[in-house]
């Protein structure tokens, strides 16, 4: 499962939405979630990993998930991206 977004927030992925993404990924113990951008892939269970992508407005980010609830994980993460005004589906 994967879904790609374009970052629309002026500040890029900043601490608040990164916190929300990581908290959401952490809820699913049976699945792993990753973010891929600029040729780099990080686990979404790490706030430092997410921030280390250095995502700015206009960048693309692809969310992927593996494991038992992968569809749910992607749905929950998409909700965060959209509700936080962080990105839009590409």
């Amino acid at each position: 499962m994967e879904k790609t977004f374009r970052i629309i927030d002026e500040d890029g992925i900043h601490a608040r939405p990164a916190t929300a993404l990581v908290n959401t990924a952490n809820k699913f113990k049976d699945s792993e979630a990753f973010a891929e951008a600029k040729g780099k892939k990080v686990t979404l269970k790490s706030i430092l990993g997410v921030l280390s992508l250095g995502l700015e407005k206009g960048d693309s980010i692809t969310l992927t998930a593996t494991g038992g609830s992968e569809a749910e994980v992607i749905q929950a993460l998409s909700d965060v991206m959209i509700n936080e005004g962080l990105g839009e589906v590409e």
Binding site: D11, G12, H14, A15, R16, A18, T19, V22, N23, V42, T43, K45, S46, I47, L48, G49, L51, S52, G54, E56
Partner: protein, 570 residues
């Protein structure tokens, strides 16, 4: 007992035991360890303590300051739970058999370096979060006896070299009754925070930290800029009185919030506020401001890497005008150059920045910058009561040129079918003696004057107030200054125009009786000075103050003028 003089940064009186906020020595040494399991256990214990602290701070911040302020601590908690941080630290302890604090410090520094090298300024600042979190854990690992300011749970006066934004954000108003710092001035970060938290504060004491021990009883007199360590019982009683009186006075002042400012003999003057950003407007309203007397537009130009667009400016001006709901807003056009730098303009260094290429001089040269600002202002004018003011005007010619550019932009907008208000008043800031001297000629062409005393005094006395060796010449009450102020006010009134003042002098309780007597129509000051000034003016008779001012103009020294003003109360 020790008395120390400082700068009164936030009004009020605090009496409480001292809490010295000194940042601990976090120097980390590399050591070899043999019991790796014990070292990992030490790491986990330190992490658990840190998390418990953060949970508590987060909870309290949530209760007292709301979700937005608590988010930062939520992010800190996530960092401490982050496998990308914790696993490498554990691996390093195991593989290299080194001490936990060294492993943590090394790993954290890699993340700090990563953030510091990021392109986005926002992400660069995240290095500060990483440092904060690392520091918290290191304190436990090093077994230091350090109390974080956020964990203060008894009434104290905080004493520090200076307070960082993160320190001040963590101060709990319930327990921190006041603070005092060695460094800083009235406009330093900590002073501004103290005023917004309404905590009494004295800054710039130079020596307070060295003179006080934890637990010493301390009085912080934010009204007169004094700090007293281990006061006598008698003095404590005096200050308790002063504290109560001040509380009562604040309650009295609050009653004046929605009233006009009228002298005891029925003359109305306007009390306005100086602001820097649209965010300052609620403070103006809350403190009963009748207008914005000076909106400094420099902040729009600072802290970015290129000129602000017309749209960015338009939105800021519109917001201020709308929030003021039809009350007058005097916007000062760009006052930059000389000592106030804008790196992206690439201006040459000058020998005498104060006498140099700045403010309206720069705008009349870089008309591209100026026209953009004028267009944004004109477009915003329909959203409220706009007044435009040009800074640093030295000659009539400069005013005429600036006005011509404004009219050109107005015509262009009209041609584009964009609506512009017809009621915009056009004024100048009087801060150069030449302008004050021919104020009679200016008064025929401008709609108003606003006297900028900070510069007018420096230029008249030829003394830089920041230069300690000559700052004694910065004399607001010098008869020379008062005579210039009178010339400007009289010239305005002769032509049926109004005269205001937007320098620090306008909010100064010693100057207010004189300025009222000289006939000043508008006083623009920091928002928190408005209610005290309103209260003061309501007790003064303008007719009596006119006599007082006339006498002051004949005095020979500033000291004599001050003595004369003080005699009103006696």
């Amino acid at each position: 007992m020790i008395k120390i003089e400082g700068i009164a940064a936030s009004a009020g009186v605090a009496i409480a035991p001292a809490f010295k906020l000194e940042h601990p020595d976090l120097t980390v040494q590399q050591r070899s360890v043999s019991d790796v399991a014990a070292e990992v256990a030490k790491l986990n214990a330190a992490l658990d303590k840190s998390k418990a602290e953060l949970e508590a701070i987060k909870e309290r911040t949530l209760q007292e300051l709301g979700a937005k302020k608590a988010e930062i601590f939520e992010a800190h908690l996530l960092i401490l739970n982050d496998p990308e941080l914790i696993s490498p630290v554990e691996d390093m302890i195991r593989n290299e058999m080194v001490n936990a604090e060294y492993a943590l410090n090394e790993t954290a520094n890699q993340f700090i370096a990563m953030f510091e090298n990021m392109k986005s300024a926002y992400l660069q600042e995240r290095a500060a979060d990483m440092k904060d979190v690392t520091k918290r854990v290191l304190i436990h690992l090093l077994g230091l006896n350090y109390v974080n300011p956020a964990e203060i749970s008894e009434e104290v006066v905080v004493i520090a070299e200076d307070l960082t934004p993160s320190d001040t954000a963590q101060l709990n108003r319930k327990y921190v009754k006041g603070f005092t710092t060695n460094i800083g001035g009235r406009t330093s970060h900590s002073a501004i925070m103290a005023r917004s938290l309404e905590i009494p504060a004295v800054v710039g004491t130079k020596e307070v930290l060295a003179k006080v021990n934890n637990g010493d009883l301390v009085i912080v007199d934010g009204l007169d800029g004094k700090v007293i360590i281990n006061p006598t019982e008698e003095l404590v009683a005096d200050y308790r009185n002063k504290q109560e009186k001040y509380q009562l006075q604040i309650e009295e002042w609050r009653k004046l919030r929605d009233q006009a400012t009228v002298s005891s003999d029925g003359v109305h003057v306007e009390l306005a506020a100086n602001i820097g950003t649209p965010n300052d407007v609620p403070g103006v309203i809350d403190n009963g401001g009748e207008a914005v007397g000076l909106y400094r537009t420099e902040f729009l130009y600072m802290g970015r890497d290129k000129l602000p667009t017309e749209e960015i400016q338009f939105n800021a001006y519109k917001t201020v005008l709308e929030k003021m709901e039809g009350k007058p807003v005097v916007v000062r056009t760009l006052d930059i150059g000389g000592d106030k730098e804008l790196p992206y303009l690439d201006l040459p260094k000058e020998m005498n920045p104060f006498l140099g290429f700045r403010a309206v001089r720069l705008c009349l040269d870089r008309t591209d910058i100026f026209r953009t600002q004028l267009r944004a202002l004109l477009r915003a004018s329909v959203y409220g009561n706009l007044r435009i003011m040009f800074p640093m005007i030295a000659t009539l010619d400069e005013f005429r040129q600036a006005k011509a550019l404004l009219l050109e932009e107005k015509d262009k907008l009209a041609a584009e079918g964009i609506e512009v208000s017809d009621e915009i008043q056009l004024g100048i800031m009087v801060e150069i003696p030449s302008t004050a001297i021919i104020a009679d000629q200016f008064a025929k062409e401008v709609d108003f004057f606003s006297i900028g005393t900070n510069d007018l005094i420096q230029y008249t006395m030829a003394a830089d107030r920041m230069n300690e060796r000559v700052s004694y010449l910065y004399q607001p009450y010098n008869p020379a200054i008062l005579r210039l102020v009178k010339m400007v006010i009289d010239a305005a009134h002769k032509e049926g125009k109004w005269a205001g003042m937007c320098g620090e002098m306008a909010g100064d309780p010693t100057a207010i009786p004189l300025l009222l007597g000289l006939g000043l129509d508008e006083f623009s000051m920091s928002a928190t000075s408005i209610l005290p000034a309103r209260s003061q003016i309501s007790k003064l008779s303008k007719a009596d103050m006119a006599e007082l001012a006339a006498k002051a103009l004949t005095m020979q020294t500033a000291a004599q003028v001050v003595e004369l003003v003080k005699s009103i109360d006696a």
